[in-house]
Symmetry: C2
Subunit: 595 residues, 2 copies
Amino acid sequence: MSYKAPVNDMLFNIEHLARIDQIAQLPGFEEAGLETAQAVLEECARFNEEVVAPLNFDADKAPSSHSGTSVTTSKGFKEAYKQYTEGGWQGLQHPADFGGQGLPKTIGAACGEMLNSANLSFALCPLLTDGAIEALLTAGSDDLKATYLEKLVAGEWTGTMNLTEPQAGSDLAQVRTRAEPQPDGTYKVFGTKIFITYGEHDMADNIVHLVLARVQGAPEGVKGISLFVVPKFLVGKDGSAGERNDVYCVSIEHKMGIKASPTAVLQFGDKGGAVGYLVGEENRGLEYMFIMMNAARYAVGVQGIAIAERAYQKAVAYAKDRVQSRPVDGSVKGSATIIHHPDVRRMLMTMRALTEGCRAMASTAAAAYDAAHHHPDAEVRKQNQAFYEFMVPLVKGYSTEMSLEVTDLGVQVHGGMGFIEETGAAQYYRDAKILTIYEGTTAIQANDLVGRKTARDGGQGAKALAAQIETTEKQLAGGNDDAQAVARRLKAAREAFVDVVDFIAAQSKGDPNAAYAGSVPYLLLTGNLVAGWQLGRALLAAQTQLGQGSDDAFMKAKIVTARFYADHILTRVPATRDAIVEGAASVMALPQEAF
Amino acid sequence: MSYKAPVNDMLFNIEHLARIDQIAQLPGFEEAGLETAQAVLEECARFNEEVVAPLNFDADKAPSSHSGTSVTTSKGFKEAYKQYTEGGWQGLQHPADFGGQGLPKTIGAACGEMLNSANLSFALCPLLTDGAIEALLTAGSDDLKATYLEKLVAGEWTGTMNLTEPQAGSDLAQVRTRAEPQPDGTYKVFGTKIFITYGEHDMADNIVHLVLARVQGAPEGVKGISLFVVPKFLVGKDGSAGERNDVYCVSIEHKMGIKASPTAVLQFGDKGGAVGYLVGEENRGLEYMFIMMNAARYAVGVQGIAIAERAYQKAVAYAKDRVQSRPVDGSVKGSATIIHHPDVRRMLMTMRALTEGCRAMASTAAAAYDAAHHHPDAEVRKQNQAFYEFMVPLVKGYSTEMSLEVTDLGVQVHGGMGFIEETGAAQYYRDAKILTIYEGTTAIQANDLVGRKTARDGGQGAKALAAQIETTEKQLAGGNDDAQAVARRLKAAREAFVDVVDFIAAQSKGDPNAAYAGSVPYLLLTGNLVAGWQLGRALLAAQTQLGQGSDDAFMKAKIVTARFYADHILTRVPATRDAIVEGAASVMALPQEAF
């Protein structure tokens, strides 16, 4: 089997870190206890292991292709997608009102990881549909909801996000696509959008494009951007896809990775104007798009965890199979499988610890999301919302950056074979690199973390997080050697974090270059700390479970992994503090002309 | 222009770090002063910028192809290679006795960097030829030298290294290719070799394979391996390539990167036996192969610097061109080129500092090589040889690992465009990944550093290096703010290094798993320290030059870059110490079955 879903680890997080027992007490989630989680995850694992994962390698070698205005997806995608929709997977987290199953994100995120581990390129289509659903749920009129949501939730139609234009990447103020109001209340949309994931394909009956555009006379910049629904096929009175709309795929990109996912250039309005329907109010498009983006950013973070897990599994399998050289400790006479060698073990442990750390962080964030949306107490909702929002750039930024390290190590474990495309490890290395770029580069996540999440409240939210971490440290400090070691590393990292928070809060007004010079290092430091913290919590839970009839081998492995993370990864944090706090000036010291 | 050779930086290193004035005092190098270096580098720059670099992108898209037993290289390679040989570039560092120019490695390494920046795939062919020349010079009989060296030094024929077999990668003890002695003193060679770079191609009249094989009855393991010359065409009495030998290319690999360089599977002896000529004595093959490998390992380190430089130049060009978003410091009203943004600047500075640091390290190592081979005083030769040998795993291991970070940042600076193959940044990311694998993975380099270079003498050599670094620290400590800052970081890093050296020397016998668990981190730490040290020396030299009629802008940039390196990269060292010294146990703590 090319992929085996880590159901045990996911359920451990769901039970002990996300606390599904508490989530199941929230209104609307009464059925969503641990048993439900287990049943859903096991079924999801089966589907992804058997149906989706086997398509991954071949699809990379024979990507989606473009001809005329249509795109043919890789072999097997259409059939697998049909099974995906028939299994109801698209609706997992969406409201029952529109045909979904209304399960918590805590469960949905784990399922999302599996789909992405199985096939990153395939999984992008549902990921974008989720975003479109979120946007319409939040800002769409009743009409739009009635027309589109059931089809999207069922996965019969898919969604896209149309933000980027050649001159407008990270800077959406530059969007030039324009929308002209029509007498019937619709708009005609004109312009070119690039980098549109699944902007054209053959897996669904209709594609619902969510498009940023400017209405004539709108203010300059981001305050003049509106959001439109522009379906590939106009929807008839009977609710079915009818007449072709004036939006066409003119080409798809040749990319380094995620080759099977078609990345389209879409042309709107070359034949008189694409019919668009305003979402919400004019000029509030960016606000609505952020709803999609926040959902998508979290999901892309999960993609990082997913590709890391897949790379880890492949590396472990190779390390257990490949025989080469004698172990340095003489434990085997003659050649041994390379998993005996300390440096291979170090690589595998690094891969494992990073992956489990980020998974734990994402699971905890998902629980906060669920509480933020379902808790009866407004104050609790607010706290959880703040926690979740702080986590989004970390889940996105840190999990994806770590996936580069993990997929690199995955190739490295394979040695020369890793560089040969036939082996498959190289695909993960190539695929992963998009994750630090799309849905906002790591720098964009870091700007969010520095600006909105840290400097805006003078670092108060960040310090509240530090206080929570300190509580875990104290619990760990009373434990055994492993727990105490983790406590020490966590304390050093948390103190470094607070130093950086103070620095950023102090500099952000007076010397913004200094604050932002350390933005990405600050994000990585914070993600590292939070993932380490969650593994600290995991260690405490695992120690409690030992000898209690749970899977002791799993619990022991969790403890070892948490310890490894603390020794080898959390230790990076204080160094990063020094670079941020003392090194800001040297970032900007070289004049532009000297580059 | 797609590539501009950094001649100024190279000459600065050659003058101030490698001290070409001292090299020019060595017997045989009397003509090799700064003026010669400048003339050679400028000519080399022109050739690589104009002839080799323009082929790089297209060759990646239309790689070498295999048909029957022959390989056709990418468009333009054959013609460019002809110009390369006509320019005498292959013979740059090789003895005048065989038609070379006998220039020091200090100059040759800089030229090698240019060729590799221009086109990594193309440059591999000469790189392997250099290795074959080294092996024959050291261990070949007069006959072999007379038959092969002039042609190789001229580049008319090319060389290969045939080590790897499917079961024998890092572990050469497993080599199974066999050689049967013939009555005429030749051998017949039978076996399969894989991953043979330029094992077949159409750029030269003959290919001289250097092949590891076992003579019948040889001892088991590495002590039973001999080295053979197996030419593609047998050489006639007149010295020209004649009858086809029984070695054929059966396929070439599909790789993630360096696609234009054919990586061959070679079959020896399927038609009765490939004629081979023993190099040196039987069963000493590995020893000779290490001569090739040490040359090749240094050269692969230079490849890391080269691809990093190219990625840096591309990222700088994009950052100066791409307009997106307002600077956070308000220095520009409206959108600005992205080089204004602190995080882009941080990425560019990181790329620059890593590249310059590794270049400085390689240049200093090259000077030691030259002194080790040409100094009249045996004791000085010995010291320089020891220094050079300590440097080889660092130049190879650290420069290539850093090239992964630099090429990653290169893609990241480009945002979404970086992931599109048309842009070209992705190629560097894909190409670089082989560098940490071939000619000995980073772990193999680290084993060398831990075992032969550190533990064997109880850390004495390593500590002698630390003492040299301390001398530079003291010089820096008396300088201005920048110098003092670098001194502080260097001191902390050097102390951490000594801690690790003590740890490794202490553990290598009693607990080898603990010593080797930290082997790669130790290599990275040491490479980081040595590169930072050389930039510290560079800073001192640059400050002396300021206002003395040199290029002041260059000198100021060097100072800023050294400071950045100290603040942002040297700061990683103490963290790595903690992971090695305190984290060894957790590397091996997870039982194999728990993976």
